[in-house]
Amino acid sequence: MPYDVNGTAVEHDEEGYITNLSEWTKDLAGVIAKAENIDMNEEHWEVVNFLRDYYDEYQIAPAVRVLIKAVSKSMGPEKGNNKYMYELFPYGPAKQACKIAGLPKPTGCV
């Protein structure tokens, strides 16, 4: 079933990643997060915004290490670590956060 964003249908693949990346909106992110049982707070948004900026520049999601370095700079070293990222996104910052940010799923041996 497509995501329903205020009455507009947004298609996604079997795993919930949106198929047309240009259809992403903040409201859609909220809908995807809800489907993932994530209550978006400021820190979630900070990660999602960073992912989107990085994707704009490089057409791919950043390595987890790169994400953590950026988070460490903006939120402080106590939050810039893998464990905290998994607290925010229990199914992994790379995959679950990308899904909410409207990015394609990272593929390969990752």
Binding site: Q59, I60, V66, V110
Partner: protein
């Protein structure tokens, strides 16, 4: 997500024979490839109307072209030696995951159409018609084999289940029934050069970021060169080494070793992938197309030698098939093996004494080592028989004081699969992956109980990712899986690097 509901088997022994659960895994199957994914690797977009004729024609062709495949189909006498050797059978109890039974899903069809007895007396010899139901059964169970080849070690005829799984997947691909995970990824390698779809700009930024990290951590500048013409060594490593943890720590380890050895080396953005999923789907054409990128990169950059990073099946393809797929390599320096494994290189440097190692830097770790299936059973390493078992252990023992092997029947040539190999490292197969990992996890838990083992090292990108997802389900931290070169990196003191002891001395001197 369903991952939380997985019924993890409680094994009393890593190789405990399970109670049979008929049909337990009949619904397990990976997502199908979309028409775009299929076409990107040269296969029809969807199941063709004449799929049955095409499947049988492909089976016939494989039997004529690949002698081993035909022998494997003809030779089995159902002795049963393989029945309890598969980690997926042990973990799931589904009798169709006994290697002989899984093979027979295809063998029964082969018999029906290509043997005298099967053509005329099918029911007497267990021969069956190829129907859509059979095709769906293939799709399910040939994606419950990680092609790890443990069963073939115990087969008195040496029948290789992996070959049969690969053939089955190839037959399914040519009739339009491909798997999303593998085919999407192979398409990305053809287009961009790696499994991730990491383009040159992003790769360069990632490597520059890692150089900064190494300098911040060690006070010494270590380069990770990209596309440097005239470098001696071309490093071909899995793209997970540019992206995931603990893989990246391994890449940092390779860079530090190359730096200390004083050699010139480079990564290629064109051939930025060691993995070759063409193997998993049994497609020679795709495997060759991926391998030829390595040849082109080596020629364009003018390197003298090729070294592979920590990647299991890549090493199988490189060690066993690279010359056939993309040779001859007569433009490389004949003084060096083609290809060489990064562990051979590092072990050589350790023996020469070029690396300043402080083993105590790994004293917080009590370690065991998981032999990756494709390295252990499908390749060699170095000049001596069994080098693929000994060289990794030699390097580990040179950098780590506390090392303990797991049970002998679960390591080396008898090693258990991580549960995610052979193109199964995809989230929708998490149930299978978890159950299939349970024999390895039990062997690990045993050395934890006996020797207080805290961490496990591996030299395969798939193993590392699989374990970082699976180990937390068995009571370990996700960071308890390590790259072997991460351990090397921990213990290696770079030339010019100020150590804590040096800092202490300087402080003491200035106090005086």
């Amino acid at each position: 997500m369903a991952a939380q509901d997985i019924d993890i088997p409680k094994l009393h022994h890593p190789l405990e024979i399970p109670k049979l659960k008929c049909g337990a895994m009949a619904d397990s199957m990976p997502y199908p490839a979309s028409p775009a994914h299929q076409e990107s690797v040269g296969f029809p977009g969807e199941l063709l109307p004449d799929w049955k004729e095409r499947a049988l024609a492909k089976m016939k062709e494989l039997g004529e072209k690949n002698r081993a495949f035909k022998v494997y189909l003809d030779a089995c006498v159902k002795c049963g030696a393989c029945t309890d050797k598969c980690h997926y059978f042990i973990g799931t109890g589904d009798p169709k995951n006994m290697p002989v039974a899984r093979q027979d899903l295809l063998r029964s069809v082969y018999r029906r159409y290509f043997t005298f007895a099967g053509k005329y007396f099918p029911s007497l010899v267990g021969a069956r018609d190829l129907t859509e139901e059979v095709l769906n059964e293939w799709y399910s169970y040939y994606h419950q084999c990680s092609q790890c080849r443990r069963c073939s070690v115990y087969c008195p005829f040496g029948i290789d289940t992996a070959e049969i799984s690969m053939a089955a997947r190839e037959i399914m691909d040519v009739v339009g029934k491909g798997q999303k995970y593998c085919n999407e990824i192979i398409g990305k390698v053809h287009k961009i050069g790696n499994n991730l779809g990491l383009q040159e700009k992003a790769l360069r930024a990632t490597l520059e970021g890692l150089e900064e990290d190494i300098e911040d951590d060690n006070g010494v500048s270590v380069r990770i060169p990209l596309d440097e013409k005239g470098a001696d060594i071309l490093l071909i490593t899995p793209s997970a080494d540019f992206f995931a943890e603990p893989h990246i720590e391994g890449l940092i380890g390779y860079a530090k070793v190359f730096h200390e050895a004083g050699v010139s080396w480079t990564v290629s953005s064109y051939a930025s992938e060691a993995a070759n999923f063409g193997l998993f789907i049994g497609s020679y054409e795709n495997m060759q197309k991926v391998a030829l990128r390595i040849r082109k990169a080596a020629q364009d950059l003018g390197v003298k030698r090729i070294i592979f990073g920590e990647c299991g099946h890549a090493w199988r393809v490189a060690y066993s098939f690279l010359n056939t797929l993309a040779g001859p390599w007569d433009f490389l320096d004949p003084k060096y093996p083609v290809p060489q494994h990064i562990l051979e290189f590092t072990w050589g440097e350790i023996q020469k004494g070029t690396l300043n190692i402080d083993k105590s830097r790994n004293d917080h770790i009590r370690l065991t080592y998981h032999d990756s299936c494709n390295v252990a059973r499908a390749s060699g390493m170095g000049d001596e028989v069994g080098g693929q078992f000994e060289i990794p252990r030699n390097v580990i023992k040179a950098v780590c004081n506390n090392y303990f092997d797991m049970a002998p029947d679960t390591i080396k040539e008898g090693t258990l699969c991580c549960g995610g190999g052979g193109g199964l490292l995809t989230d929708e197969l998490m149930d299978l992956r978890t159950k299939g990992a349970s024999p390895r996890m039990k062997a690990l838990q045993d050395v934890t109980e006996e020797h207080g083992v805290t961490h496990m090292a591996a030299i395969c990108a798939i193993c590392k990712t699989q374990f970082s997802k699976i180990m937390p389900k068995f009571g370990y931290d996700m960071e308890a899986i390590l790259s072997v070169h991460q351990l090397v990196s921990n213990a290696l003191i770079l030339s010019g690097q100020e150590t804590e002891e040096d800092a202490g001395e300087t402080a003491a001197n200035s106090d005086a």
